[in-house]
Amino acid sequence: MKTGIFICHCGHNIKHTVDVKELSEYFKEIPNVYVATDYAFVCSEPGQEIIKESIEKFELDRVIIASCTPSLHGELFKDLLKKSGLNPFLLRRVSIREHCSWTGDDLKKNTEKAKKLILAGLFSVVHNLPFEEKVVEVDKSALVIGGGISGLSAACFLSKMGIRVYLIEKEKELGGHVKRLNNVWPYEKTGKEIVESLVSELVKADNVQIYTGARLELLEGYFGNYNVKITADGEREMNFKVGGVIVATGFEPFDPYLKPELGYGRDRRIVTTLEIEEKLNEVVLPEKPRVAILHCVGSRDETLGKSYCSRICCINALKVARMIKEGYENAYIECFYMDVRAHPKGGEEFYEETQVKGVFFTRGNVAEVVPLSRCVLIRGEDTLLGEVFEKEFDLVVLSIGMSSQSENKRLSQLLKVSLDKDGFFMEAHIKLRPFDTAVKGIFIAGCCSGPKDVEESINHGKASALKLFGMLNKGYAYVEPFVADVTEKRCSGCRMCESVCVANAIKYDARKRVVKVEEAQCMGCGLCNATCPSSAVTLLGYSDMILMDEISGLLARL
């Protein structure tokens, strides 16, 4: 095994506390080391030239670069090896800067430590294998679960981009809850119009199949090659193959029956914002109606286990208040709130104008709504004035929040995507990857991952579709070479690895009584390798041999 060791000074960063000269002298004499040199900047152009020439001159088949930490210049050195005609995985990076020269001042001790770190690299690089990055064919098609506005907008975008779309919706028609809204802030358009504009585009497209009243039954495979089984309107079973999945199951309005003290259902005069919007004209109100609007019904409520804020109901309550004000000129409208969260663009101005229009805002939480014959009594505590109050109203509107879709539970088992504590789907990273999930190839859009308003849901749908399109578009996908691999003759079939595998990437073959690894699904964590007593399953790149030799390298006394 002809090895080359290249030690970097990194200007002074390594040289000032590690004697690089002594290092290269010392390693020149180690038997299978054909070249051991040091240079001021191994990552610079001239530094790379030295490595390239040495590889060609000595026909090295292993390279060790002792310099900064491996996470820097990763690609740079891999390309360098490729250019010099050596498989890039036969390279071993040893961090003698972040883990040696920068963390100690004593020249002698640091040099000893650097020696051991490089020895560890030298002993273990022998077992590096020339991997090839695997390429997997990807099917340019997508399954969209949920026909609400985010599902529709995702499907629109994908079909425009030439991806075959299968859209499934569990209800009879598309449009979800937005369809029931009659005017959507700030669009000044009705929910129906918004849904119509999306649906009309979809129906025209030829690469879209829409199944209403359909449910997902089974999803198997991995990114680029999912086979899906659905049941359409109860019995017809369909199977098809898709490249990726977009979950857009939306939300469920909070069921006010869960707060009995608010008296919903016991009297016609206690309604929810959704209902009032649909049938404002049907509701009969006296000439000068007294209307109360209760905020945060079913949100920010520890007792119900719904401690999150539903984000959209403040603006929605303001909209309903103004709607009633238009309908009934001199109506007395009072909102009971904890915090008015009018954060979207133009929201603050909307809130101010509502106050100017004569809607009163009282900071306090309503404890009880008692429907009497002549009025509906509200009992609560005004936190500003600090005393309990009782007020009479002709109509009480509950500004209900958003709960997670009950379907999510079942879906998360099928898709193996986890839910957060409130039952919404969990993003891969709350900040930077709001559309990805932990499973590669499955994306989330709209309110299925948390409350969003109409506008944000549509945009979320489009952006999530873009993410999926980005991955499908290339037609192929790289699969990490560092995945688990089973040597069948050493496997005792005890299935311990299968039971611990987090990515469900290990399948037991009952006939041969051994396990096999689903490469594309494997995340490369190595848990199986550590669990298997006989190390029959090995994580390529971090095999037992590599790590064991690295340990003996670190502890070597030569």
Partner: protein
């Protein structure tokens, strides 16, 4: 919990009926004059010995890798052997559909190496004989799980010495139905579970080195251990147990020039491997040519480590082996 009070004869009749089916097989102990043997009965079963006081090896080891599905193998073992069987099913090393294994109350055993010991005939005398016999094996002396409460069914002796058969899993019906006597509630004494405490194993590296000084790395303890099931153990190849060039190479590299190499490493790793599944049967000590007190170490460590997750090996088919599962909010101060 329901069970049937039977006589030995009822049991034998049931077993005879069981063996009618030509795919059935019975594995149990037999006592011919002095020697106690593990035997398989094919067609007929003249008599079986329920209480075998002689320990040769953990019989569950012979069940390993029985994968054929269409047989019905009935086994009547001692508790530690039944527990070993349960662990093996969890590790899919035995096709549990074709094996029905029950456990009999055990009074402790004597090593098969000793001979010319005359054991009394009937169970009562056998029990008292063993209780104050000084040849009782260390494993049995410290054994806390003597009762036949493991496996698919149990054959137990109540305080006034009548035999009970108790089904624990559905598979036991294959024998339970064949017994004609009436079902009744179990006597209360069967229900309180055995106390679990015992003196906690505590040792030191020097004590270990002294005890294992004579170890010649013959790896018998691994081969005989019922729950050490790997087909190709890591200690067969060079990274863990270097031989030849690999030995020279590793001696040159490291500071430990002891031959055979990695003695402590082998025992420590094996102790860890079996730390949850070991049933404390003391089989390893039996097999050790050097007389090293292996049971003290292996059983001690496994009881201590499985105690952390209050797991008892072989207690229940569904209970997952602790290393293959977890609870999210457990062990809050596991880290330092």
């Amino acid at each position: 919990m329901k069970g049937k009070r039977i006589t030995k004869k009822d049991l034998l009749d049931a077993l005879k009926k069981f063996l009618k089916d030509e795919l059935a097989l019975l594995i149990a102990f037999e006592r011919d004059n002095k020697a106690f043997k593990i035997r398989a009965y094919k067609k007929d079963v003249p008599d079986i010995c329920l209480f075998n006081p002689v320990y040769e090896a953990n019989t569950a080891i012979y069940l390993r890798r029985i994968f054929s599905e269409d047989f019905k193998i009935l086994c009547i073992f001692r508790p530690c052997e039944a527990r070993a069987y349960v662990e093996l099913t969890k590790l899919t090393q035995v096709e549990s559909r074709s094996v029905i294994c029950g456990s009999v109350d055990c009074f402790g055993t004597v090593s098969s190496k000793l001979d010319n010991i005359v054991f009394p005939e009937n169970p009562q005398d056998l029990k008292s004989f063993l209780e104050n016999s000084k040849n009782l094996r260390y494993a049995c002396m410290t054994c806390r799980l003597k009762n036949g409460v493991f496996g698919d069914f149990g054959l137990r002796i109540d305080s006034d010495w009548n035999l009970w058969v108790i089904p624990y899993t559905g598979k036991a019906n294959v024998l339970y139905e064949l017994i004609s006597s009436a079902e009744s509630d179990l006597p209360r004494e069967f229900l309180e579970n055995q106390e679990r405490n015992g003196q906690v194993f505590q040792s030191s590296l020097d004590e270990f080195k002294r005890d294992f000084d004579k170890c010649i790395m013959c790896l018998n303890c691994r081969d005989i251990c019922p729950v050490c099931y790997c087909v190709d153990c890591v200690f067969n190849n060079d990274e863990y147990l270097p031989k030849g060039d690999a030995l020279i190479n590793s001696i040159l590299r490291s500071n430990d020039a002891q031959i055979p190499k990695n003695k402590e490493m082998y025992h420590f790793i094996r102790m860890y491997h079996v730390s949850q599944t070991c049933v404390g049967c003391g089989g390893c000590e039996e097999a050790c040519p050097q007389g090293i007190p292996l049971t003290k170490y292996y059983k001690g460590i496994s009881e201590r480590l499985s105690g952390l997750f209050d797991y008892v090996s072989g207690r229940d088919f569904e209970e997952k082996i602790p290393y293959t599962t977890f609870r999210e909010d457990e062990l809050p101060n596991a880290d330092d």
